[in-house]
């Protein structure tokens, strides 16, 4: 399949045609359905009202990622909203994955955001529960959790495929969106995780991005169980990876970021290294190379908080793109002979 996206209009903020069998007009869906190894990453959301900060942070990923996650109050901290970040990215021609967390909004607000995001041109949305408010900078806030991620997926699919709100009221034009969900393969109860994934697929998830996976054997076991459940044909799975800055920051993440499991061996390896940051990146490259070989893995989701510049480096060094250059808004001018 042609992944050069020749059918992108001259103004890249306008939608592409929706291919037969596709649910969205997005590039991420095309890359995944074409069978290419996809790469997504996450933007550090600005604590600012300046759109230039969004554009500057997106440009760091140029030529390395297929889509950029716009987080929704990541870690229960206040930031620019995911709808706004996504809309700005669309305006600049990028492919955002708009995250929707159940923590801060009830079903009335969420359904409005799905329609609103889709109207702005967002093609990918990620439905998640969200960290508890205790993890963030406003622990005194009221946790909403009107829906859980499962009912959120069901409602999202209802909007798109049945053209109605949960209430049953009809909508005139459905959101053409590729819906995803998250999973944490290494969290307890581990034997239950593949079944939870199956539930998410049944509820409407078409792609999955996972939490960080720093341990390969249990991940392999998880993927085997997912295959046994017959899910590999139904969902694209992107495994979460990322460079660790140092042993100290790894320890901090393990104790402060909900759901992140970092084995002692990894921390010891970092602590024993002369240049811990370089070792963290090397480890990430090795993990990507191992993950790429696991059956059923469709790509990786690279998370590098406040070291976005490391994303390109680990992707480059892992060789996972095999010469493919993911499309980005400036690619056409780059390609033209000087």
């Amino acid at each position: 399949m042609n992944l050069n996206f020749d059918d992108i209009p001259d103004d890249p903020s306008l939608p592409m045609p929706i291919l037969p069998g596709h649910v969205s007009a997005g590039r991420l869906e095309r890359v995944l359905r074409a069978g290419a190894f996809a790469v997504t990453s996450e933007m550090d959301p600005p604590d600012s009202a300046n759109p230039e900060e969004v554009f500057a942070r997106a440009r760091i990923f140029d030529g390395y990622v297929d889509a950029i996650n716009a987080t929704d109050g990541a870690g229960a901290h206040c930031h620019m909203s995911s709808v706004a970040v996504s809309a700005l990215l669309i305006r600049a021609g990028y492919a955002p994955i708009m995250q929707i967390a159940c923590r801060d909004k009830n079903r009335i607000a969420i359904q409005g955001d799905i329609l609103g995001g889709a109207a702005m041109g967002v093609c990918n949305m990620l439905c998640l529960t969200g960290d508890g408010v205790q993890a963030g900078d406003h622990p005194q806030a009221k946790p909403v959790f009107d829906l859980d991620c499962m009912s959120l997926l069901e409602i999202a699919r209802m909007l798109r495929d049945e053209h109605r709100f949960q209430s049953g009221r009809k909508i005139t034009s459905p959101p053409r969106v590729f819906f995803g969900a998250v999973e944490n393969p290494l969290a307890v109860p581990r034997e239950w995780r593949p079944h939870r994934l199956a539930k998410k697929v049944a509820a409407g998830a078409e792609f999955i991005q996972t939490q960080y996976c720093f341990e390969i054997p249990p991940l392999r076991e998880f993927m085997n169980r997912v295959e046994d459940l017959g899910l590999l044909d139904k969902v694209f799975i992107l495994i979460g990876v990322g460079p660790l800055r140092s042993a100290k920051s790894a320890l901090w993440m393990r104790s402060h970021v909900p759901g992140v499991h970092i084995p002692d061996a990894v921390i010891q390896r970092l602590a024993g290294a002369e240049d811990q940051q370089a070792e963290g990146r090397k480890l990430c490259v090795e993990l990507i190379q191992e993950i790429r070989e696991i059956k059923g893995v469709s790509g990786v989701h690279v998370m590098a908080y406040y070291q976005q510049e490391a994303v390109a480096e680990v992707i480059e060094r892992s060789g996972m793109l095999q010469g493919r250059v993911p499309w980005y808004p400036g690619i056409r001018t780059q390609r033209q002979p000087k």
Partner: protein, 152 residues
């Protein structure tokens, strides 16, 4: 009470059986309830239900009980009120992300449902989102009315 709640999960098998028997009895008495009037019964029955289920399961009176599908571990005790399985934040020791002193209600549900015949299969069905209008109302009476009405 937390200790009783955990005891209930350990005895999920017996409790689930008793619960089903109780449900059938309450439903069979539908003509009696209708005679007295469901509306009139709502307050006293909800009060009894709150006391019993509150003691056994730390019931939060969501009014749409799914205990039989969650290994007798009440999902409304989850700080995120998740009704479809654990979030990704469960700690390595099986405790809650938000309340580290509490076992994750879904880790408990998983253990409880293993004790119930067919419990794990029930855990895999997707539960509908909560109808917050039913909060504080009796799930027993709602169930009795639904069962008496028969399949729609």
């Amino acid at each position: 009470m937390y200790a009783v709640r955990r005891w209930s999960v350990r005895h999920a098998r017996g409790l689930e059986w008793a619960y089903r028997w109780f449900e059938r009895t309450v439903s069979a008495l539908d003509p009696v309830w209708r005679r007295i009037g469901y509306a009139r019964l709502e307050k006293p029955v909800a009060g009894v239900e709150r006391t019993i289920k509150g003691f056994l399961f730390d019931c939060q009176m969501c009014g749409q009980c799914v205990l039989g599908s969650t290994g007798m571990s009440c999902p409304m005790n989850c700080p995120k009120t998740l009704r479809n399985g654990p979030c990704g934040g469960v700690r390595v020791d099986g405790c809650c992300e938000v309340k580290p002193e509490m076992r994750c209600v879904w880790v408990e549900a998983f253990a409880g449902s293993a004790r119930i015949c067919g419990g794990q299969a029930r855990l895999r069905t997707v539960q509908a989102s909560v109808d917050w209008r039913l909060r504080g109302r009796s799930a027993w009476l709602a169930q009795a009315r639904d069962l008496a009405k028969g399949p729609q």
